[in-house]
Structures are given as structure tokens and as C-alpha cells.
Symmetry: C2
Subunit: 275 residues, 2 copies
DNA sequence: CGAGGTGTTGAGAACCATCAATTGCCGTGG
DNA sequence: CCACGGCAATTGATGGTTCTCAACACCTCG
């Protein structure tokens, strides 16, 4: 009998159970969690709050005493530029955490705003202290995720620096699709894109007008198909080629994680579902 | 008698001693380290390696088993785009760490290349395991620094997305200056900029021609003065205004750090030198 | 003295922004 | 049922910022 359970074990997983643990299910992608670690994660998701579209769940320039797991809906991290023109730094999808990278920071650098209505699970930052004390492997996993975010951000930075509008748009679509697949492997090539073209423009550093032109171009080239608010990627590979996309989600490393000690639980890589 | 020593205590600090601990001195900016923690840090800097200009100290797409502290010289993190046009993601100055954000990542996302000759201190990634086990406050500090890097990267992302060439250049100059001041508070307004205009272009996502034009513009407006390879910021405040610069280095938070335990060492904020 | 790298300057073109007008969609109310 | 308002998407015309290409000046080093 094993002392670990795999959260994403295929089998009798009810829909409700899955929706109760979208964060845990994302973590489970990177390995098996011990029972104790699962308790920590569960604690992070124990309180829910329903949030409206446009609600600021993490205000900039304010001390941040709560982290969030986004459970339903999309959020956006936005930098407020005094130029009026504001820039979205990243999109936060269900199952992703807000504030991990701001953990050591006294004041939050940027706003995090809900792009749609949704449900978030706030949990006090102090809990992280306990994690660092008692669940070193989990804290290492958080470090890993933070690092992954950083690499991802680097990719976007490169794209914003030297990428054309076409490349940016392709990257945007492909990246969203791949990230949605992480939590929800069975969506196929079609997904809901609950953003206006203005919003996309703020993510990509383009005007809504040019966003529209790029989308039209892709549609004309039969690369995508738009059935608002859904998008279908007709030729994902071509889009990846245009974007120069490299999937970074295989990058999580656990080899250096501290061992769990006498219970000897291995946080080994989970085999990827063939795709 | 205190059990802690402040590494940057003003007083009899020899030049040699300071050059031996540029990383420690950066850490010390954020608080006082215990003797044990100092030992960890010292261990990170115990082996030195002299590196040539252009040398790749951390190759992309390869497992990363060493971190580096850059002790002398400048390094650059570069994303290799297959478009030919390559983009520098960030500049790494003496006293800064390479690879912290890649800790949890199986393969390094990007190359890190020396922009000048210099000295780096490699230390095995495995040491971090020990840190996470035995020096929770230190590992929290690393998390904090990683977070700070992330926020900084967000600022640059916003700038690349919606900033003009003028704003980018101003930000570039001001940011470098402020970061050099962290380790070396007495350089005044003049600093050595050991980069070609092409290199600056790769950082800012501009061509060398336009970099030149911006620099000329700033010179004509008496905002800067160039005495290759030195730059003097004649009106730093105007530059900050142009760049919309906000200094993020005050942002490190230690309130949530785990306590050190019975020895009760406080990792309190260090008062900033008045500037 | 020549070669190569870097900086400087000019002219034209490309990409994307801006401005402006129109269409289509949806919910509301008459 | 239709009129209306408002928001988002779409399309066209024009302009600005930045790129590209190209030539030349400067410096260092052999």
C-alpha cells in the first residue's frame, strides 16, 4: 500500500472533485504529492470568493498579505503606466497562482484584475512560512513554478522586443491553448477566449485596430476560425512556427528537490499524456 | 557581544575584502546575516573562475547544474531567436546571481553570455538543497530576490510593449545607474558602460542606428554626456521622468520570513544610505 | 598604411498607430 | 414588432516612429 495518492489518477474522478482542485491538479502534473503536502495545498484552496469582472484582486503599491489561486475565470496582471496606455503583463488562467513571484516583495508591483467573473481562493501569505518550514519539497516546487513563470516572461519579453505583430498574435493564441491544455487536456483545438480585442491589444502591445487586422489575416489564411467567443486553431503547427513557440512546461525539474526524509516519497516526473 | 556581524559595516573594510564579497554585500543590503548564513554565502563564492568576453557561462537547453555569482564584469541573458535577430533579456551586474530563477527548471531557458571579461563564482545547484534545509531565511531571501527580478522584468516587459525608443533608452540608463549604486554607492553620476551600441540595441529591441540617434538626442538635450566608455547622467531626474522609472529595490520584504529560531536573529531592514 | 570594427549620418521604406466612419450585435424600452 | 442606444468589431485613409540600406568617419591594431 502506497502512502501517496496521485491526484490526477485516471479513474473515478468526479467533475466536482476536479473542479475543487484545479490548483492541485496543476501541481500534480509535476509529480506526486505526499498526504501532508496535499493538506497544505488543500488549505490553500479552502476558502473561496466569487469575484466580478473588473475587480482588482491584488492592488498595486499595497502590501500584499494574501495570495490567490484562481479557480474559475481569467485574471490579468496589469502595469499602470502614467501614459494612459496600459500594458498587460500576463494572463492568469484557472489553476494558476497569483502573487507567488511577489512573495518576497513588500508592495505588489502591479495590479491583478479579473478579466472575467470567477472564483478565487485567497490564502494568507503567512501560510507560506509554514510551507517553507515543514514542506521543503513543496516550497521547492513553488520556486520551480516561479522560475517557470520567469522563463515564460522572458519569452514574452523577447517577443515584445523584437517580434512583429503577427508573431505576437500567433504566440498569444498558441500559448493560451497550450496552457489551457495543462489543466484541461481534452478541449481539443477550440477554446473560449473571453477577451475583447482591446484587451488582447493590451497584452500584445498593439492597438485594437491592429489586433483586428491580424485576426482577420489569420482567418483569411485559414489558420484560425472565430466563433465568438470561441477560437479554433485550424493549424496549430503553423501558428507555432510563426510564433517560434517552444513549450516550456516540460521544464520543471525536481531532481534537486530536497528528499522528503524517512518516508522516502519520490516526487518523480509524471509521464506526459501522449499528445 | 552580538552573534551577527554586518557585512557592510562602515569602518575598516579593505578594498580586497569588499571585492571578495560583492554578492554578500548585495545581500547585506536587505538585512543582517547570521554567522551560519554567512557561511552558506561564503561557500557560494569560494571558487572563482576567470571568464572571457563572449564566453557562454550558462548555455540554453542544457541541464543547469551550477549557479553563478558574477563577481566582476557584466553578463547578459540572451534568448536565441531563430529569426537571427536576438534579444537580450537582462543585464547581470557584479553582485548579482545567475540561474536563481532557473532553479526549478530542468533545462536553462536562455543563454547567459559574458558581455565583458570578468570573474564568476560557480557553485553547484545541489548546495541550494542544503540552503533550503538548513537556512530557511536565506532561501526565503532568494525567493525574494527572484521575485524582485520578476517585478523588474515586468517593468521591462511593459516598456517593450508600449514604450517608445526614447523611454526605453532613458529607462536603460537610469536602471543601470541605480543598480550599480546598490553595490557601489559612491560612483556618483558617472559609470562605465562596457557595451557597444549594437548590444544596447539588443537589450532595448532597437537597431544600432536608432540607439545612436537616441543617444545623440539625449546628448544634444544635455541629459547625458558620453566619454567612451563612460556615461554621465547630467539630469537623472529628467531621465527618470522620461522613463517613468520607479525604483524597485526598496521592495524586498522580510516580514514573512521564517524566524531563525532560538538564536532570534532579526533580518530587519537596513537603513538606506541617504542619497 | 591598410584592415576591421564601431560610431555617425542620410534617405527611403515598412510597420504599426491614429483618426474617423461604418457595421453588426444585443438588450432595453416603447 | 420595431426603434433606439451602446458597445465591440470592422474597414479605410493618413501619419509617425522605427527599420533598412548605404555611405562615410573614426579609432585601434597589425
Amino acid at each position: 500500500m502506497r502512502t501517496t495518492t496521485h491526484i490526477l489518477d485516471t479513474g473515478p474522478v468526479s467533475g466536482a472533485a476536479r473542479s475543487n482542485s484545479c490548483f492541485a491538479s496543476r501541481l500534480a502534473r509535476y509529480g506526486t504529492l505526499s498526504v501532508e503536502e496535499q493538506e497544505f495545498v488543500a488549505r490553500m484552496e479552502e476558502s473561496e470568493r466569487r469575484v466580478k469582472k473588473g475587480e482588482v484582486i491584488l492592488p498595486a503599491n499595497q502590501p500584499l498579505d494574501e495570495l490567490f489561486v484562481v479557480k474559475e475565470g481569467w485574471a490579468v496582471e496589469r502595469s499602470r503606466a502614467r501614459n494612459g496606455r496600459q500594458q498587460s503583463l500576463r494572463i492568469i488562467l484557472p489553476g494558476e497562482v497569483v502573487g507567488l513571484s511577489n512573495l518576497g516583495v513588500r508592495l505588489a508591483g502591479n495590479d491583478v484584475v479579473m478579466a472575467t467573473e470567477g472564483v478565487v481562493c485567497p490564502f494568507p501569505k503567512d501560510h507560506m512560512t509554514a510551507v517553507y518550514h515543514k514542506a521543503p519539497r513543496l516550497s521547492a516546487l513553488f520556486t520551480a513554478i516561479t522560475g517557470l513563470d520567469s522563463v515564460t516572461m522572458g519569452d514574452r519579453l523577447a517577443l515584445m522586443g523584437s517580434g512583429t505583430a503577427r508573431e505576437r498574435m500567433a504566440h498569444f493564441l498558441v500559448d493560451l491553448h497550450e496552457r489551457l491544455l495543462v489543466v484541461n487536456p481534452d478541449i481539443g483545438r477550440r477554446f473560449r477566449l473571453p477577451l475583447r480585442q482591446v484587451d488582447i491589444g493590451e497584452v500584445l502591445g498593439l492597438t485594437k485596430v491592429y489586433v483586428n487586422r491580424m485576426l482577420k489575416a489569420f482567418t483569411d489564411e485559414h489558420l484560425i476560425e472565430i466563433q465568438r467567443p470561441y477560437v479554433r486553431l485550424l493549424q496549430p503547427d503553423v501558428l507555432k512556427e510563426i510564433a517560434g513557440y517552444t513549450n516550456r512546461h516540460d521544464l520543471i525539474d525536481h531532481s534537486w528537490f530536497p528528499n522528503a526524509g524517512q518516508n522516502g516519497i519520490s516526487l518523480g516526473a509524471r509521464e506526459r499524456p501522449t499528445g
